[in-house]
């Protein structure tokens, strides 16, 4: 069982990332490829990776965020795609973080990339065709770029919140 402090932290971060998700929905972003987006809510994910105690807590945060976000807009199909993406992203980011060789923006960029791999894998499974991976040459670099930007922002926030 996790302590009250961690519970509260997760609840606050979930609320934060939901707001970011909803605000992003209001921004006019050009359509590049199916699934490509800024992913502002992932600023919270990257922050949580460094501030929450353990990957389990981040996992819980992601689960709550994805479920609530698809409730606000998207629906069940979108839920599975985004959950697969978020989990693939969390998996790769926590691995890279453990290796201690990479900085926050680098890890976040790899996370953005893994997000698309996870999403494409589930979509390919659902549609029963590997040809969906033809979108990877567009989605991959998109994920790297947005992930890098998210990582730079997250690092700023991490630097300014050295509380403990």
């Amino acid at each position: 069982m996790m302590n009250l402090r961690t519970c509260l932290h997760i609840a606050l971060l979930t609320a934060c990332s939901l707001i970011m998700f909803l605000v992003e929905g209001l921004l006019p972003v050009p359509f590049l490829a199916p699934g490509a987006k800024l992913g502002l809510a992932n600023i919270v994910t990257v922050y949580a990776l460094y501030r929450l105690p353990g990957v389990k807590a981040v996992f819980l945060l992601i689960l709550l965020r994805t479920a609530l976000a698809s409730f606000f807009g998207g629906g069940p199909t979108v839920f599975f795609y985004s959950l697969a993406g978020a989990l693939a992203s969390l998996f790769l980011m926590s691995l890279l973080k453990k290796s201690r060789a990479f900085s926050v923006p680098g890890i976040s960029a790899a996370g953005g990339f893994a997000h698309h791999i996870g999403q494409l894998a589930v979509a390919a499974l659902a549609a029963d065709t590997l040809s969906l991976f033809r979108y990877l040459p567009i989605l991959g670099p998109c994920g790297l770029l947005t992930g890098l930007l998210i990582g730079l922002l997250a690092r700023q926030i991490l630097n300014k919140t050295e509380i403990d």
Partner: protein, 118 residues
Amino acid sequence: MLKKADIVLLILLLLLSLLPLFPWGLPPSACYAEIRLDGQILEKIPLTGQQGVQERPLTITQAGAQHHYLIRIEQDTIAVITADCPDKICVKTGSISKPGEIIACLPHKLIIEIKTAQ
């Protein structure tokens, strides 16, 4: 800013994402568009040698509900013009013509894929 390891990682992933470009770079032979619903082939439309513009409605039944699409075949390209799916990603994808290219309408599990004859 970024560490050297970060830059190596970024370049590696960038190359990885370009990988799907290679096996499909073959010269085009006779192509057709395959329309699949949930993995099952509904229709095959020959594209190579196709003249003029042709628009045709497509109605699918998914989980008891009917969905309507309007498909345009022009020269040797195919596109979804209108659709009643929520996200309209199939319409925004535009027209496709090369083997392996696809239009995916995931809400209804509809896939249009260009294939070669052999």
